[in-house]
């Protein structure tokens, strides 16, 4: 027998409270039918005996204390999945919005997923050639990694993400088992449109699943968007053996939605008003990247987040950095100099890089070269700060060489065209060429054997 509960007891933000409910379970999905015939969905988030708190996905607008009939569906939040989902456009909670009808499910999966058993994971080692010098050489992206882009409003993170998708596709065994899951959370319509157009331009739209929750869509749906996207990604990767690249933008909007929801539930806030469980919540998303035993596929994540006021210590980038395996940090100063991609290499990092490069993967000198470039570029920053105090003229000869190296490094190595696809060999050779601007004695991160082979002074 199906029971309808008439009316609600309380309405607060996106939450409604029902009393006298029997037989409901935690996290169950409910249908809320309004008098005007529209149906909204909600999820049970808290229970005290027969009093249940329900989070309504679309807003609580128009809901009054007596105009609703609520029905328990007996199911947790599930996502219909099938091979046919590739190429579709869905809303934030996974419903098709491209007018091509419902997805006929081969299977349904709980969007919360279940934690991956650490012993079932395969340690990621295959590198993805992105064709971007800074990333390939210094912040190598590994298949199965989660590598976010830390950016700020107005910076070129979208272009960078698009370039990675385009060029990584080419490197990936002709792109056969390759697909992209794109999750937009609270982004402007233009941004979503830019991605869509770009995917169409290089002909991968039939390999993309888009989930769109735009800036004016309800925030509760925004909380579900990455969960739905990752459920799709896991299905494609671990059941259909595909290599899935998940792009999630913008994680800051997601966290803000979570904050809004948390405060409407009356929870005790942590730093900057974000809920105390923000770390666990973000981890439950990011940790869904990886590879597992018994499956050929992989889930690689590139979350994009805008740092409010470019502040890397803001809770969202901060907690993200603690969970993800490195980060790509964009810098407004570099962008101001007209450098694209404006990647600031010093705070950027790829934690999985060390095992996916070197002999057998890229080239034997890769790690040493990367260490040396980082170390030398750090000295460039020191020399620059000194120059700003005493003037470049007064610097010691060696510091002057660093200034030249730094300038060349930024304009030739970091900077590259949006359409330029450099091979790993080209990038590494360019790195050595630039190190040639420095005297050999300064290269203290590389042992002599490698120096003998690759170092060539620019002065000779």
């Amino acid at each position: 027998m199906v029971l309808d509960y008439v009316g609600v007891k309380e309405i607060n933000g996106s939450l409604i409270v029902l009393e006298g409910v029997q037989g409901a379970f935690n996290e169950e999905i409910v249908d809320i039918r309004l008098d005007d015939g529209t149906i909204r969905q909600g999820r049970i988030v808290q229970m005290d005996g027969d009093r249940v708190v329900i989070q309504v996905f679309e807003s609580t607008r128009n809901i009054s204390l007596k105009n609703t009939r609520t029905r328990l569906t007996g199911k947790p939040m599930e996502m219909p999945l099938s091979r046919e989902i590739i190429g579709r456009i869905l809303n934030g909670s996974g419903k098709p919005i491209d007018g091509l009808g419902d997805i006929y499910p081969e299977k349904k999966a709980n969007i919360n997923g279940t934690p991956l058993n650490p012993v079932s994971r395969v340690y990621p080692k295959n590198y993805i050639n992105t064709g971007i010098s800074t990333i390939d050489t210094l912040i190598t992206l590994i298949r199965g990694q989660k590598l976010p882009i830390f950016s700020g409003s107005g910076m070129k993170h979208n272009e960078l993400a698009v370039q990675i998708v385009r060029q990584a596709k080419i490197a990936d065994d002709d792109g056969k088992g390759f697909c992209v899951v794109f999750a937009a959370m609270g982004v402007k319509n233009d941004v979503a449109d830019y991605f869509k157009r770009s995917f169409e331009e290089f002909g991968v739209m039939n390999k993309v699943v888009m989930l769109l929750n735009l800036a004016n869509d309800p925030i509760i749906e925004r909380i579900l968007t990455p969960k739905c996207a990752l459920t799709v990604a896991e299905y494609l990767a671990f059941e259909l053996d595909m290599h899935v690249l998940v792009i999630m933008t913008d994680m800051t909007s997601y966290a803000e939605a979570l904050r809004e929801f948390s405060s409407s539930k009356g929870e005790i806030p942590g730093r900057k008003g974000y809920p105390g469980y923000l770390y666990s919540d973000l981890a439950s998303l990011y940790e869904r990247a990886g590879m597992i035993k018994g499956s050929k596929g992989s889930v690689t994540q590139i979350p994009i987040l805008t740092m409010p006021n470019d502040d890397i210590t803001h809770p969202v980038p901060d907690l993200t950095g603690y969970i993800t395996e490195g980060q790509i940090v964009l810098d407004r100063g570099l962008q101001g100099q007209g450098i694209y991609p404006p990647i600031d290499i010093l705070p950027s990092l790829s934690r999985l890089m060390k095992d996916g490069i070197g002999e057998g993967y890229t080239r034997a000198d890769h790690q040493a070269l990367a260490n040396q470039l980082f170390s030398s570029y750090a000295k460039v920053i020191d020399a620059r700060s000194l120059a700003s105090v005493i003037g470049a003229e007064e610097l010691s000869p060696i510091d002057k060489k660093y200034l030249v190296f730094g300038e060349q490094f930024e304009s030739r190595f970091v900077s590259q065209k949006f359409t330029e696809n450099r091979t790993i060999e080209q990038s590494l050779d360019l790195g050595w060429e630039l190190l040639g601007l420095l005297p050999r004695g300064e290269l203290d991160r590389v042992d002599d054997k490698i120096l003998d082979k690759y170092y060539k002074s620019a002065e000779e």
């Binding site: 379970f25 012993v119 950095g321 700060s385």
Partner: protein
């Protein structure tokens, strides 16, 4: 059965039971049809609050809650080594086999230790022996290098009334029978249970005067830690906390390593699993996993189990300590544990203190770190538990509560520095802001084993680094060129110390672990060069002449150029220094 009740409310991982008088504080309970593991954390006459160690999706009010009558405990016995558990001692490999998939399903009921495996047991007591808690009554080879000693539970004593023969037994089979003073008999098996939040008793704590040798130069020389000591490793993301922990786990001279991945990355745990399996322990010639137990409660696994994981870890370490082993526990990261505490506290609607953390954060931290010690065990053997906890401060700001409170209860503080990490100087331990309080305890040991010089070298190296730090303030303002030659020499020597000594390459076969003798010789050689050069400068030889000899650059690379097993090469280096500088001197005066 009396110890049953039903769920009233559910809020995230917290479940309440109304008007119940069934359960006791900290009791372990099973919740719902799937028998999810939970723990009682608060009792009032109106409601009992339970934290559930698994996802609560699907639980209903009215579902059953069954008490076990005992606090949250772990099973201690053979089979712990070379194993990987989650935060409440469930073996992840077994779970993988049961769930037949890569994802952990809920309520997976598995025994912590393999109940079917037969161990080769040698019984060491005779009928009529009087035994007390901690006494060893059987031994068995657990891995190739770890001999497992089965001990009488600490709270039991009496007379052995029956002894079985040596042979093959599984963990729940009786090997001996004990009769206590009240005449009650107890079957002694190969395992025992122990509540995770209670420290295992010891006879007495011993002074912290033996160092834990790690093979990491910056730690062993400048910031040493003792066996049974405590250290905090704070650092922002990307500063190298995990790398430092891995290096210590691989190379420190403890017998047993307990590695707790508390709320950290899944891929990191799979890396540990893989690397430690491949890596051969230089002392025993066996894979590192033979002496390692992993507790993996990654960040996406249930938060309440994360809270329990560090207690589970330290209880296992204490158990092996009781057998007379030196154990080291790496907790990565205690901040995630503190956050779990905060999350649960928030669900209980407790009044928050600093930054939303509960007011009892400091007392919980101190309880944990105080379980570290070098001790005389109940059975008279000596063992130790060293605790090395990583701290992940929000925004790399060391003034936040977890870092500050940890600082109060640990005696080593290895602060990881962002600037060093950016320049890829690893280990990125900042020698200016870090400290160790163990110098006075450990100096006698160093003096006895390495000679008085070791301590002298260390203080000289320290002095040069301090001096450099002061000079760098000036250099930042007006450049290095204006400094007099003797100060330039300080900067040059300090560079050799920083790059050639403190910085250490974890991926280089010789540099990843450096024995103390080589560390001492490296210091000696650097200081020798410094002193001879100083001498030359007093004779008005310009520093540019001295640096042009390339000796400083040569010393920065000696960590790679001199293999660990060829300490005699240092003599040649000293000779070369003397000769080169002497000829400079002669050339100058002729």
């Amino acid at each position: 059965m009396e110890n049953k009740d039903v769920i009233f409310g559910i809020n995230g991982p917290v479940v309440t039971v109304k008007n119940s008088r069934t359960f006791s504080m900290m009791e372990m309970v099973y919740v719902g049809k799937e028998r999810l593991v939970g723990e009682v954390i608060k009792i009032t006459d109106k409601a009992t609050t339970i934290q559930v160690y698994e996802e609560t999706t699907g639980l209903k009010p009215g579902d059953e809650v069954v008490g076990t009558g005992a606090p949250m405990n772990v099973t201690l016995g053979p089979g712990i080594m070379d194993n990987i558990f989650d935060g409440i001692e469930r073996p992840l490999k077994e779970i993988e086999a049961i769930t037949k998939g890569a994802f952990i399903s809920r309520g997976a009921a598995v025994s912590p230790l393999d109940e079917n495996k037969k161990w080769d047991v040698h019984i060491t007591v005779k009928k009529g022996d009087k035994v007390t808690g901690g006494d060893i009554y059987a031994t068995l080879p657990e891995t190739r290098i770890i001999e497992h000693k089965v001990m009488v539970p600490p709270n039991l004593s009496g007379e052995i009334v029956k002894v079985n023969k040596d042979g093959k037994y599984s963990i729940n089979e009786t090997v001996a029978v004990l009769k206590d003073s009240e005449g009650k008999t107890h079957d002694l098996t190969l395992c025992q249970k122990w509540p995770i939040r209670t420290p295992r008793p010891v006879r007495q704590k011993l002074p912290a005067d033996v160092p834990l040798i790690t093979g990491q130069r910056v730690i062993d020389t400048l910031l040493p830690i003792s066996k049974g000591g405590t250290a905090a490793v704070p650092g922002g993301f990307g500063a190298g906390k995990t790398m430092t922990q891995h290096q210590l786990a691989k190379w420190c001279d403890a017998d047993i390593i307990v590695y707790v991945g508390c709320g950290e990355r899944g891929n990191e745990m799979s890396q540990v699993l893989q690397e430690f399996g491949e890596l051969i322990d230089p002392k025993s010639g066996r894979p590192m996993t033979d002496r390692t137990v992993l507790i993996a409660n990654t960040s996406n696994m249930p938060v309440a189990a994360r809270e329990a994981s560090i207690y589970t870890g330290i209880t296992l370490a204490e158990y092996y300590r009781d057998m007379g082993y030196h154990c080291a526990i790496m907790a990565d990261s205690t901040s995630r544990w503190a956050e779990a505490l905060r999350e649960i506290s928030g669900r209980l609607e407790e009044m928050p203190a600093e930054e939303g953390f509960p007011a009892y954060l400091p007392s919980r931290l101190s309880e944990f770190y105080e379980r570290a010690a070098r001790v005389e065990n109940l059975n008279g053997t000596e063992g130790s538990v060293t605790v090395i906890g990583a701290v992940s401060p929000q925004g790399a700001d060391f003034s936040e509560p977890v870092t500050q409170n940890t600082k109060r209860f640990t005696r080593c503080f290895w602060a990881l520095d962002k600037a060093l990490a950016y320049a890829r100087h690893y280990p990125a331990i900042n020698w200016m802001t870090s400290y160790s309080e163990y110098f006075t305890d450990l100096d006698p040991w160093f003096e006895k084993n390495l000679g008085r010089e070791f301590i002298e070298y260390r203080s000289k190296i320290n002095a040069i680094l301090q001096e450099e730090n002061k000079l760098m303030e000036i250099v930042k303002l007006i450049g290095a060129d204006v400094l007099p030659d003797d100060q330039k020499l300080i900067i040059e020597t300090a560079r050799v110390i920083r790059v050639g000594f403190l910085q250490q390459n974890a991926f280089h076969k010789d540099d990843t672990y450096v024995p103390l003798e080589k560390q001492q010789l490296m210091m000696k050689t650097i200081l020798h060069l410094h002193e001879v050069a100083q001498e030359l400068i007093t004779r008005n030889i310009p520093i540019s002449r001295i640096t042009s000899l390339g000796l400083f650059d040569k010393l920065t690379k000696m960590k790679y150029d001199i293999p660990n097993d060829k300490p005699e090469m240092f003599k040649d280096y000293e000779k070369e220094i003397d000769e080169a500088l002497n000829s400079t001197l002669t050339a100058e005066f002729n």
